[in-house]
Symmetry: C2
Subunit: 415 residues, 2 copies
C-alpha cells in the first residue's frame, strides 16, 4: 500500500512558496496505514504533469495531486487529468449550485461570471468530493485498483477535503496495515553522543522497527517506526523497546512528540493541570515564544499574556525595569533578564514569568554585548534565575534556538 | 539548463517535517538563471535513492541532493552516492581536521569518537565543499556535463553551502540564461474578479512572459516570469507590461514582493523613513502580528513593542482598558479594540497603535461574540478607528487572516 503525492505549481519550484500540503497529506495517510512512497513537485506544464502521473501510477496505489485547480489560465490540472484518462470535461450541476451559493453568501449578489462557472466543469469519469470552503471540487478517479485524487492547493480547502472526504473513502476501499510512529524528544545532548550512548539498544531492535535521529537546534528527536497488520504486536513491541530505552536517556528525555506534539504543548498541559498561569516578556525573540503557545487552542487557560518590549525604553515604561539597572549592566544581562521575568509576572499577575533578552543580529541592538548572546530568566513567587547562552551569529537561528531553550527551561520549571 | 532537487528522509514522507530546503534552493538557483525542473522527496532507502538519481540524471543538468549525511545509521546518502558512481569512500584529512576543530571548540575537549570521525569519509571522486557550521561536508561530483551535489539537510548548514560554495561554482561552470520573476501584491479583490479585470492585458502578454495568480487568505499575488539570454530585453519588456498593468489595479496594488518581500517590510520601510514608531496590542493573534515584524532585522528602528493581552484581565492590568467598558460591550467589540489601540500607543509611547481582538476558536474565549468575529483598531495621535471582520471558523485561518488584514490596514495608514 503506497501513495504518491504530486504537488503542481511553478511557485513551488521557483521557491516562492514552501510546500506544506505534502507534509499534511503524508501524516494523514500514515494515520490510516498508507505509506507515502514519494513526493514529487512539478511545473504547471501539461507534459510534465502527464509524465509524473504515469511514473506515479507505476509505483503507487493511490496518487494524490494538489494544485492547479483555480479559475485562471495558469491552472491546467483539470484539463491535464482529463487528457490522462482520455476523458472530457462536463458541467456538474451540484458543483455549479455550490459555486453560486458561495458567491451569493460570501462575495456578491451579482450573477457569477463564466470564469467562476467553469469551476463546475469536471472530468466525466470523476466522482466529486465537494469542497465546503472553496469553488474547486476535489475529484476521485479510479483506474483498475488504483485511485487518483485531485485536490485544490489552498491549504485549508485541501485539509478539509483530506479529513472529511478522502480518508473515509480510502478506509472503505482499501485493506490497510497499521503504521506506528513514536518520537521521543530529547534536549541537551548532540546526535552522535546520543547515538553512541544507545548503540547497544539500537543494534538489538527487531527488523521491523526502524530508528531515525532528527537533530535540530538544541534538540534531537528519536523516532521509532513500525508497520504491519498485527496492530497489537506492533504496539506492544514498540512500547517494550521504549521502556528499555528510557532509563538510558532519562537526563535528556522530555516527552513524546505524537502524544503531546511539542514542548509547548507539554508545558501547556502541565500548567493547565496545575492551575498555574504564565506571563512572558520577550525582547530578542520578538513574539515568537508567545506565538508558540497561542498557536494552539486552550492557551487562555494558562497564558495571561506577554510584553514584547523590543525597545529599551519599553522595558522601563511597560515592565518597570529600572533605567539605572540597564545603565549599569546593559540591556542584555543577567540582571535585566531577571528583572523582566520578575516584573512581567507582577504586571500580568501570573504565577510564572519568563523573559528573553539578547542580540539576534545581524546588527547589534541597543545596549552592550555580542550578537548571539542571550539571557533567559524565569521567575516564580519564590525565586528567580537566569542563564546566559551563545546562540551563534545567524538571526533566525538565534531566535529559534532561544525559543527552544526557553521552552526547555520552562518545562523543567513546571515538571 | 535545468536542475532537480532530491530531498532524502522518511521524516519528510511521513509528514513529520515540512521540506523548507527545496524552496530555498529553488529560489537560489533561479537567482543565477537555473530553473528547477522537479523536486523529488524520497525515503531513506538505497534503491529508491538510486532510482531517483537515475531519473533526475535524464531530465536535469544539475542534481542537488539534501539530507542523510548525519553520523547515525539511518543516514545512508553518502554510501548510496558512492555506489551510484561505482566509487569508494576515503578519509579526507581536511574534513577530519575540521570535525576535530568543531568538537574541540563547541562541544568537548575529549577526543572525538569513531562516529564523528566517519563524517570525514567521502567518495573519492567528490570535490569537498567545506561546511563551516557542521561536520557533514557538501560534495560535488561531475559526470560528463552533469553535476551532482550532495548537501546536509540541516537548513542553516545547507543554506550557507548553497550561498558560499555551490552558487559560485555553478556560475563558473555553466553559461546560464537570465530569469526574472516580478510579483505584484494585491489585497482586497478575489482571484477570479482580478483575472477578469485584467484579462485583456493578460491575453496580450508576449509568449515568453508567463503569468500566475497566487491566491491566499485575503490577498492575491500576480507573478510575471520570463527567461532568456538577453537580460536587458527581458527587464524592459516585463517593466513595460507592469507599467501597463498598474493603472488597472491601482485600488488593490500594495507593492512588489521581490523588491520589498512582504507587506510587513513595506510598512517597516515606510515607518523607518518617516521616523514613526509602532506599538501593537494583540489578543486573538497571540503574538503572530508582532512576530511578522520582528522576524526581519531592523525592527528596533520603528517597533517600540507589543502587549499580548491574552487574558481579559491583562487588558485591564497592562493596558488600562476599563473593566466597565469590557462589561458593557464585551471583550470582542469596536470599543475594546479601539481602547486597546489607544492605550498601547500611550503605554509604549509610540506614534501608532494597532490592536486585534477576536475569537480564533475552536472554543469561544472570554466574553461574547461568535468564533471568527474579529475587530482590528488603529490609533494615531489624532484619531482612532476600528473595523469588524468575519474570518471563518478555522483557528489558523482566523489568526492568519487577521494578521494579514491588520497589515493591510496599517499599510494604508502609513501610506
Amino acid at each position: 500500500m503506497y501513495a504518491e503525492i504530486i504537488t503542481i505549481g511553478d511557485e513551488i519550484l521557483i521557491g516562492q512558496i514552501v510546500d506544506t500540503n505534502s507534509a499534511f497529506i503524508g501524516k494523514a495517510l500514515n494515520s490510516i496505514g498508507v505509506s507515502v512512497y514519494q513526493i514529487t513537485s512539478v511545473q504547471d506544464d501539461k507534459l510534465h504533469i502527464l509524465k509524473a502521473l504515469a511514473l506515479a501510477e507505476k509505483s503507487a496505489d493511490i496518487i494524490i495531486v494538489t494544485g492547479g485547480l483555480g479559475p485562471t489560465k495558469d491552472d491546467i490540472t483539470k484539463h491535464t487529468i482529463a487528457e490522462y484518462f482520455n476523458d472530457v470535461l462536463i458541467l456538474n450541476n451540484a458543483v455549479l449550485a455550490h459555486v453560486e451559493y458561495l458567491f451569493k453568501t460570501y462575495i456578491t449578489t451579482a450573477p457569477i461570471s463564466d470564469l467562476n462557472r467553469k469551476q463546475a466543469l469536471v472530468p466525466s469519469k470523476a466522482k466529486i468530493l465537494m469542497n465546503d470552503f472553496g469553488t474547486a471540487p476535489g475529484m476521485w478517479i479510479e483506474k483498475e485498483k488504483k485511485t487518483f485524487i485531485s485536490l485544490p492547493g489552498v491549504p485549508f480547502e485541501m485539509k478539509s477535503l483530506i479529513e472529511n472526504k478522502v480518508l473515509p473513502e480510502l478506509i472503505k476501499k482499501y485493506k490497510r496495515p497499521f503504521i506506528l510512529h513514536r518520537t521521543l524528544l530529547t534536549y541537551g545532548l548532540g546526535e552522535s553522543a546520543l547515538a553512541e550512548r544507545i548503540e547497544e539498544w539500537e543494534d538489538a531492535l527487531p527488523d521491523y522497527i526502524k530508528l531515525a535521529y532528527l537533530p535540530s537546534l538544541g534538540r534531537v528527536r528519536i523516532r521509532l517506526s513500525a508497520k504491519g497488520f498485527d496492530e497489537e504486536l506492533i504496539r506492544n513491541e514498540v512500547e517494550k523497546q521504549i521502556t528499555t530505552l528510557l532509563p538510558q536517556i532519562k537526563d535528556v528525555f522530555v516527552g513524546y512528540e505524537e502524544k503531546e506534539s511539542s514542548l509547548e504543548k507539554i508545558i501547556a498541559t502541565r500548567l493547565t493541570n496545575k492551575k498555574l498561569t504564565l506571563a512572558i516578556a520577550e525582547s530578542c525573540t520578538g513574539g515568537k515564544l508567545t506565538e508558540r503557545f497561542t498557536a494552539n487552542s486552550g492557551a487562555s487557560n494558562y497564558l495571561k499574556g506577554s510584553a514584547i518590549t523590543y525597545a529599551t525604553q519599553s522595558k522601563i515604561d511597560v515592565l518597570g525595569v529600572s533605567s539605572d539597572e540597564i545603565k549599569a549592566h546593559g540591556v542584555v544581562s543577567h540582571q535585566v533578564a531577571e528583572s523582566m521575568a520578575v516584573k512581567v509576572r507582577e504586571v500580568f499577575h501570573s504565577d510564572i514569568g519568563v523573559a528573553t533578552t539578547g542580540h539576534a543580529g545581524p546588527d547589534k541592538g541597543e545596549g552592550e554585548g555580542e550578537v548571539g548572546t542571550v539571557f533567559i530568566a524565569i521567575a516564580t513567587k519564590e525565586t528567580v534565575f537566569s542563564n546566559r547562552f551563545t546562540m551563534g551569529n545567524h538571526r533566525t537561528k538565534v531566535i529559534n534556538k532561544t525559543v527552544n531553550k526557553a521552552l526547555e527551561l520552562l518545562e523543567k520549571e513546571v515538571f
